[in-house]
Each structure stands twice: as C-alpha cells, then as structure tokens.
C-alpha cells in the first residue's frame, strides 16, 4: 500500500481570520509591476483545469462502466469549477473588462497557457487515467503549497480546490495500481500510456520568468521544490502498480505554458468555443 500524501483539512479558523483581515483586499491585485506575470500565471492555473476538465468530460456517456462514467463526469465538473475561480480572478487582475467566460471562450490557442500534457487526446482508458494520475500528483502538491500563498485570494481558491483534488488523486492512484497490477493486457496498456506521457511531465516543473515572478512575490511555490514530492508519490504508486518508470528524459516536451501547443488544442477549442464564436454573447 503506497503511503500517499495526506490531505490535511485546511485550518478553517486561520483561513477565516485571514479572509476577514484582508476584507476581500489582496495587495497583489493592484501591483502594476506584477500584473502581467500574475495574470499569465492565473491563466495557467485556469487553463490547466479547463483543458483537462474538457478532455475528461469527453468520456461522459462513453465510460466503460456506469460508476467510472459518473466518476469521470464528477472530476470534470470539479475542474471546470476550479476554472471559473482561477479565470475569474485572472480577469479581475487584468482589469480589462473581460470575465472568466470571455477568457475561456474567446481566446485563441496561442493565448492558452495550459500544459501540453493535458491537451493530448484521451486515447484509451489507460492513457486517460495515467495522465490524470501524473497531473493529480502534481496538482495536489501545488494546491497544498498555494494554501499558504501571500495572496489571500489565491489561498482561498486553493483551499477549496484542494479538497476536491484529494479525491481525484485518491481515485486515479487507486486505478493506476489496480490496472497496472491487473491483467497482462491492462498492465501492458498502462505501461504504454506511461511511456507515451512521460516526456510531457517535465513541463510541470520547468519554471520560466512568469513562474519566477510569482514565486518571488510569495504567491506560488518554487516549482523545483514540488518536484521531489511528486517524484516520491509517483515512484511509490508505480512501484505498487508493478510499472517501470521510463528512462527517457521527462522534460523533452514543453512550450504549452508559453502558448506553443500541439495541434490537438485547436480541435478542443473548435468544439468548446463554437457557440460563442458563432453566436457572440449568446446566453441562456
């Protein structure tokens, strides 16, 4: 049984006190020098949730069993919920009259800041679950660190999202173990999925000027600090799942965070943004 990280319940008293002290005021929001990096970083947070949430939602109605179908739809729903909070804050920081919906539905692919890992097609259930696990293990550590952010607004979103992401990690790690240490067929598929996705995982930990700026401001942790935590969880789960960690470089693929995407993102956006592009401002 791998000893996965514990999801400590957020200290609700401390959170409430901080929120009350801040009274909705976040010093970083009015920091003009920080604005471009803060906005970009918030788009990364929101776009990661949006693109993965959209991918997972593609399984709705197609799951191999009813329970899996429901679990995938629930996970997608959580992620879209996180997107509304992150992109909502991004729009507020930008202060240009856009809102979360405008950011989601009216930006082109080059303006999206999600990791390449998350836009890859779902493939089979092995690729879907392995991708989710590799990201969940990172997402969990990132949100845990963000609950201590110097931005009270970021900290409260992280505390909310962390409770749900704990379920995601619990479920995806459980299934990676079950399928990796399952039948010959399921093992082979899980190993193939891991080998395929591995070169995309390094992007999660490769910091650029945006990451450095928000880390410097105390808004986000240093990505390098998260790497050993992620490696520990991944190593334990893969070991339990009898899967071999690939020996190839894990950071061969990058660029998503800077807007250089694979061809797959455009197809996601074509579907996701169709309505608002064809009927601008449509609502119901």
């Amino acid at each position: 049984m791998p000893s996965l990280p514990d999801a400590a319940t957020p200290d609700v008293v401390a959170l409430a006190e901080r929120a009350a002290a801040a009274q909705g005021h976040d010093p970083h929001i009015s920091d003009v020098a920080l604005k471009p990096a803060f906005f970009d970083w918030l788009c990364r947070m929101g776009d990661n949730s949006l693109v993965l949430g959209h991918r997972i939602s593609e399984w709705c109605g197609h799951g191999p069993v009813l329970e899996e179908d429901i679990a995938l739809a629930n996970t997608a729903l959580d992620l879209i919920g996180h997107t509304q909070m992150w992109l909502g804050l991004a729009a507020e920081v930008e202060g240009a009259g856009r809102d979360a919906d405008k950011l989601a539905f009216l930006r082109d692919a080059m303006k999206f800041r999600n990791l390449k890992l998350l836009e890859l097609p779902n493939g089979d259930m092995a690729v879907t679950l392995m991708r989710e696990f590799l990201f969940d293990a990172f997402h969990f550590e990132l949100l845990t660190a963000l609950t201590g952010s110097s931005s009270p607004r970021v900290a409260e979103i992280a505390a909310k999202a962390l409770k749900e992401v704990s379920y995601h990690l619990e479920r995806s790690s459980d299934l990676v173990v079950r399928l990796g240490d399952g039948t010959e067929e399921s093992h082979a598929r899980m190993q193939a999925a891991l080998n395929k996705l591995w070169p995309y995982t390094g992007e999660m930990f490769t910091a650029d000027a945006v990451d450095d700026a928000v880390a410097e401001a105390g808004i986000a942790p240093s990505l390098a600090d998260l790497l050993p935590l992620w490696q520990r969880t991944v190593a334990e789960v893969l070991d339990e799942a009898t899967l071999g960690q690939p020996e190839q470089r894990f950071d061969a693929q990058s660029g998503g965070k800077q807007g250089r995407h694979t061809e797959h993102l455009g197809y996601i956006l074509a579907e996701m943004q169709f309505l608002q592009r064809a009927y601008p401002g449509a609502s119901w």
């Binding site: 049984m1 000893s3 996965l4 990280p5 514990d6 999801a7 400590a8 319940t9 957020p10 609700v12 008293v13 959170l15 409430a16 901080r18 929120a19 329970e67 899996e68 429901i70 679990a71 629930n74 996970t75 997608a76 729903l77 959580d78 992620l79 879209i80 919920g81 996180h82 509304q84 909070m85 009270p152 900290a155 409260e156 979103i157 505390a159 909310k160 999202a161 409770k163 749900e164 704990s166 379920y167 990690l169 619990e170 479920r171 459980d174």
Partner: protein, 173 residues
C-alpha cells in the same frame, strides 16, 4: 420614507424554507451553505458558499434564494459568494442528518475527512477502519462502497450487503 427592515433572524427563518434543489428534504440553511445574513444600510446581503466548486446546483440555489426573499418583500438584495473557509459536511445540522437518512441517503460520518483522505483509504483497505456507513434502509453496517463518486459531487455510491439496497452516502468533506 423608510419601511422597517425585517430582522436578520426573520431572514434566516425565510431561508430555512428554501430547499436544496437536488436533495429537497433539507434546506439550504441546514446544509450549512448560507454563511451570513446582514444589512448594509437598506441592502440585504446574503453570503452563500458552494458545496463543491463545480456543483451545477449553485446557480439554481442562488436563484431560489433570491426568489424566496423577493416574495417576502425584499427588493434591495445582494448575494455574495464566499469561498473561505471552504464548506465542510461538519456544517450539516443534526436535524438534516436525520432527514437525509429518512430520505434514503446515509448522512456524513464526521471526522472521516479531517483525518486525511489517504490515511482513511489505507486504513479502510487494510481492514483497520472504524468507518461504518449504515444502510439507510435496514440499518445494517454490513455495507460496501461501489464508487467514490455518486449521483452528485457530494455523494458516493454504496450497497448494503444484507438487504442488497444500493444507496447514496453523503460523503464527509
């Protein structure tokens, strides 16, 4: 001229009549999602927190709260979304837990989230768990989890191994 504003206690009572759209036997106040009612001058402010971030019922709940308060004659109203501290099932009232059970949903077992989900999972799998989810139909504790996710984000799917009834567990969060 200024009419006499209803007391916040009165407003809480009115909100106690607003049912949760997905589990209509409990009210929004019993679920613990109404966090504050206050007057700012002549504007009534109601702070509501979401259960789960992506819960599709959130906007319906806002609409139902607004409809109820307007019917009671409140014209100047503002709904606030409050994220912090995040909602927990610890805020579900005792009365609501009984209503959930009678409705066929096993109520949350307190303390099973705050001890750490991963630790709880490890304990469950190794048979060391004292987490007992009683069947809301026959009361048997001989039950098993079918899936961690159920018909709504806040529930998990369980099955009673005695009476064979499938049921929802309002999971501790």
């Amino acid at each position: 001229m200024t009419a006499v504003l209803p007391s916040t206690e009165q407003v809480w009572d009115w909100l106690g009549e607003v049912p949760d759209p997905e589990i209509p036997v409990v009210s929004v106040t019993e679920l613990g999602i109404v966090r504050e009612v206050r007057w700012e001058g002549e504007t009534l402010v109601v702070a509501v927190t979401p259960t789960y971030s992506g819960c599709p019922a959130t906007s319906v709940i806002d609409l139902m709260i607004e409809t109820q308060l307007r019917e009671k004659g409140i014209t100047d109203l503002r709904l606030e979304r409050r994220l912090s501290p995040p909602w927990t099932t610890d805020w579900v009232t005792d009365a609501a837990r009984d209503k959930l059970r009678a409705y066929g949903i096993a109520p949350p077992v307190d303390g099973t989230a705050s001890d750490g989900l991963m630790a709880g999972r490890a304990a469950r799998l190794s048979g060391r768990s004292n987490l007992v989810i009683a069947c809301p139909r026959c009361g048997s504790s001989h039950t098993e989890r079918v899936s961690q996710f159920g018909s709504t984000p806040c529930k998990a799917s369980y099955r009673c191994r005695d009476c064979l009834e499938p049921f929802d567990y309002f999971k501790c969060h």
